[in-house]
Subunit: 501 residues, 2 copies
């Protein structure tokens, strides 16, 4: 009997994963060159696949099987046990919300994104305000159905980072604020100026492509189990560990953008390429959480590829590809240009140091939205106030402020913090590795693969068998500790800007 | 009640079409550049999608719904009625064969194709003989389950060309034999020799691509509803009318191969791009049959793009692209080179005149296989005898003979005749058009689109709402009549080779 139920349960999950795969392929195809006229059908298909996936999850058989298996947890193997926990969460999330409300919400999301685009184009938040209000109302109601512990926002945080809470994040961001805000101020007032004029010249797109491929090879992305293509916004997509694709885009005057997009998406890609293939089609063959995923992309992008040691080794290749522009530029100068601190309005263009401040602004606002009765019309003023406080800038218009991100138009609340957590996890993991061997030494010798192998073994392989905090504990011996991240930032940027540490 | 059943029935078919779409996308992705390591998973996924598609078709609900609807045929709209007929056929085909046998057969097919590849590499039929024998036995047993009228082979013919029978094909091929065999002989003995040395020189692949795109535009393929890519074997794939993709491959010394692959696949593509979009997701939004599909590809490839009139208009473009090779070659000479008759061993390399003889050989053998007890070990000798008789060639080895095609290793019996039927349909359709306006005149003026529009209206639009013989009757006013095809061949090749007509 037990085996029959396990088989039925695992088959249902396997079938769901086929729909997910088909949906991913459909999205990939659309983003990387599907025909124009085929778009509307693809959107329809995506909706249908989501519907089938829902049907496979929410039904009486599944309800009965989940209950039955929960009564036999001790008799289940480790993988099935973890599948059970994850499926129960999805089941409850979906089944507690009335279907009509889910549909009305989906419809609103689609409309809201379109309205947001227009509002952003016109830099006019008032056009979008009412939609945002209704999206928030929906999410509040859903949180009500789903229940919460401590703070209503916790339920949403947990969607992207299992176990994350407002209490933990308050402490985390407080630490960040104490360190980063004064550091940015000190850099602004420093007499040291970083010259990055040479990375704003014209870099041939063909050579940028060559470089993107090269750096991906160096860090350990496997082209036999993936591919690099172009799309408007860079992304990575893991169909399964043998097929993890990434995209980048290229602009002639922004060589660093494509290079770091490759390193970043490559980090996501390396993660998924190295999950244990035995987890395929269990729903566990993916990154453990948004935060852990982001920790890997940031690790490759920042900790490795924005480090001084990396550029000591790698700069020669860039110089050889672009001798005319870079003949008089040293690796030190190039390294500094890659790390120039310049507070800016737009999150996705932010430098490594100020990036998490952008996240903090969003976190604080989201938390307030779900705490009380803040009026959406007050949001732009609130946003601008925080930008002034943390980044020292006056926001001139909503498109450079509160309207810049697509996330809220999709009611994606609770996601932003995972970007900052990813940065912090990356530093914490780096500190652990440095206890075993020096990352910088490996980088200086071009031995990136040894670092990648370490990550494969300790983190990538287990997929989402463990929760993010369990992984952190297992790998680094302690829970989230922001100090590794703030120390790393202080050390690095004090040195570049010649500040007293 | 009726509407409830209709909705349930159509929803099931719609869901099947989503699986088909996902499978097609998966295949496309694999054929046009999917990662190497991802292959095995893709094959597994394809199998799972086929399984789900089977489950959506063969179940008690569907059985009950089919019966119910068949009792209310007069109350159904035209589309649902046609869906019912097509679904009933698939349902019976699938449900009459025991599931274990289907699975054993699928497994054998997979193995057989691998064995066939090796046997072909070694040019040794004996390696493959036993597999072929077992595949034939399976198909015979299946025909037994499924039933047949007249001749057992009829059931297989009907799978690809609804309504086609041995009686009709015997008559058809007899007519072809009487005309083509002596024509080929006369050409071999003719003193006229066609020079095609200039199409065996080195043609830049980039320019071949340009030309392929250009000819596709000229004949009316819509790049906004499709794309042209490369794959090892050219193919076309219609996901839906707004997304019909084609592939070609390029070899430096074979400019005609890529050009005619583009015209051929373009013909398939134009067909599917112009099916009425209201038929999407009904299972009817595709070509009416393999033969009708092939008639469209052959129409564009041969009737249009291998005609003298076409080259009068189009040759200039080719000459401009390759001035060094073609500066002293006239359009007449180029036209003749495109139509050089040279009996050869390999079907897919055959010229227009001898092509259907290759099909006749396969048809005659398949028919015998399903009539009686022919020993598979006798097949190579039988094959070689027919090649000698129809093409005048001595087959030197099995890879150039009976092992050349993949079809039989997949137990694809009954499919080959549709290639010859396509040729004949194309000529019959051309004769009808010529009664309304002169195809050649349009071609000389570069007005291909007017011909394409005619085909859109009369044939493409209806998808598979009608059977092939109904379409032929509707469009040309009569059933299959081989004379149009044989007259066309006599006329064209007598003129090129200066024979008495």
């Amino acid at each position: 009997m037990l085996n029959v139920v396990i088989d039925r349960f695992r088959n249902a999950i396997e079938k769901r994963s086929v729909f997910t795969y088909a949906g991913s392929l459909n999205y990939w195809d659309m983003a990387t060159g599907g025909s124009e006229k085929g778009m509307s059908f693809r959107a329809k298909l995506q909706g249908m696949l989501t519907g089938y996936s829902y049907e496979m999850l929410v039904n009486e058989q599944m309800e009965a099987d989940l209950k039955f298996l929960e009564g036999k947890v001790d008799e289940l193997d480790e993988v099935t046990r973890r599948m059970l926990v994850k499926t129960r969460k999805s089941y409850d999330d979906y089944s507690k919300i009335p279907k009509e409300e889910v549909e009305a919400f989906s419809k609103l999301q689609l409309e809201a994104e379109q309205v947001w685009e227009k509002a952003k184009d016109k830099a006019d938040f008032s056009m979008f305000a009412d939609y945002l209000k209704r999206l928030i109302e929906f999410q509040k109601k859903f949180v009500g159905y789903r229940g919460y512990e401590g703070h209503p926002y916790n339920t949403l945080l947990d969607d992207y980072e299992e176990g994350m809470t407002v209490d933990k994040l308050d402490e985390f961001f407080a630490e960040l604020k104490t360190t980063i805000v004064p550091l940015v101020k000190a850099i602004n007032e420093s007499s040291v100026k970083v010259d990055d004029s040479f990375v704003r010249k014209s870099y041939s797109i063909e050579k940028q492509k060559e470089l993107a491929e090269d750096v991906l090879n160096v860090i350990g992305y496997d082209f036999n189990a993936g591919m690099l293509k172009e799309s408007v916004h860079p992304f990575s997509m893991g169909l399964n560990p043998n097929d993890v694709r990434i995209t980048v885009n290229y602009h002639e005057n922004e060589p660093l953008a494509s290079f770091y997009a490759a390193a970043h998406e490559g980090g996501h890609g390396i993660y998924e390429q190295n999950v244990n293939t035995e987890l395929m089609m269990t729903g566990l063959c993916e990154g453990a959480s948004s935060g852990i995923h982001e920790s890997q992309s940031r690790f490759y992008e920042n900790v490795l590829c924005r480090s001084e040691a990396f550029w000591e080794y790698y700069y020669q290749r860039v110089q050889n590809l672009f001798p005319e522009i870079l003949k008089d530029v040293s690796s030190q100068e190039y390294y500094k240009a890659c790390n120039k601190v310049a507070p800016s309005f737009i999150r996705i263009e932010a430098d490594e140091l100020t990036y998490s401040l952008h996240i903090m602004i969003r976190y604080e606002i989201e938390k307030e939205l779900f705490s009380g009765d803040i009026d959406v019309n007050e949001l732009p003023a609130l946003w601008n106030k925080k930008v002034k406080e943390y980044l020292g800038l006056d926001v001139p218009s909503d498109d450079l402020g509160i309207l810049q991100d697509v996330h809220w138009s999709n009611a994606l609340f609770g996601y932003f913090p995972t970007y900052a957590l990813g940065n912090a996890y990356a530093s914490q993991i780096a500190a652990t590795i440095n206890k075993e061997f020096s990352i910088d030494e490996k980088l200086r010798k071009g031995q990136c693969m040894e670092i990648t192998k370490w990550l494969n073994d300790k983190i990538h392989n287990m997929g989402s068998m463990k929760k993010p905090d369990e992984i952190l504990e297992l790998v680094t011996g302690e829970g989230l500790n922001a100090k590794y991240y703030t120390d790393y930032l202080k050390e690095k940027f004090s040195s570049i800007y010649d500040l007293q540490k």
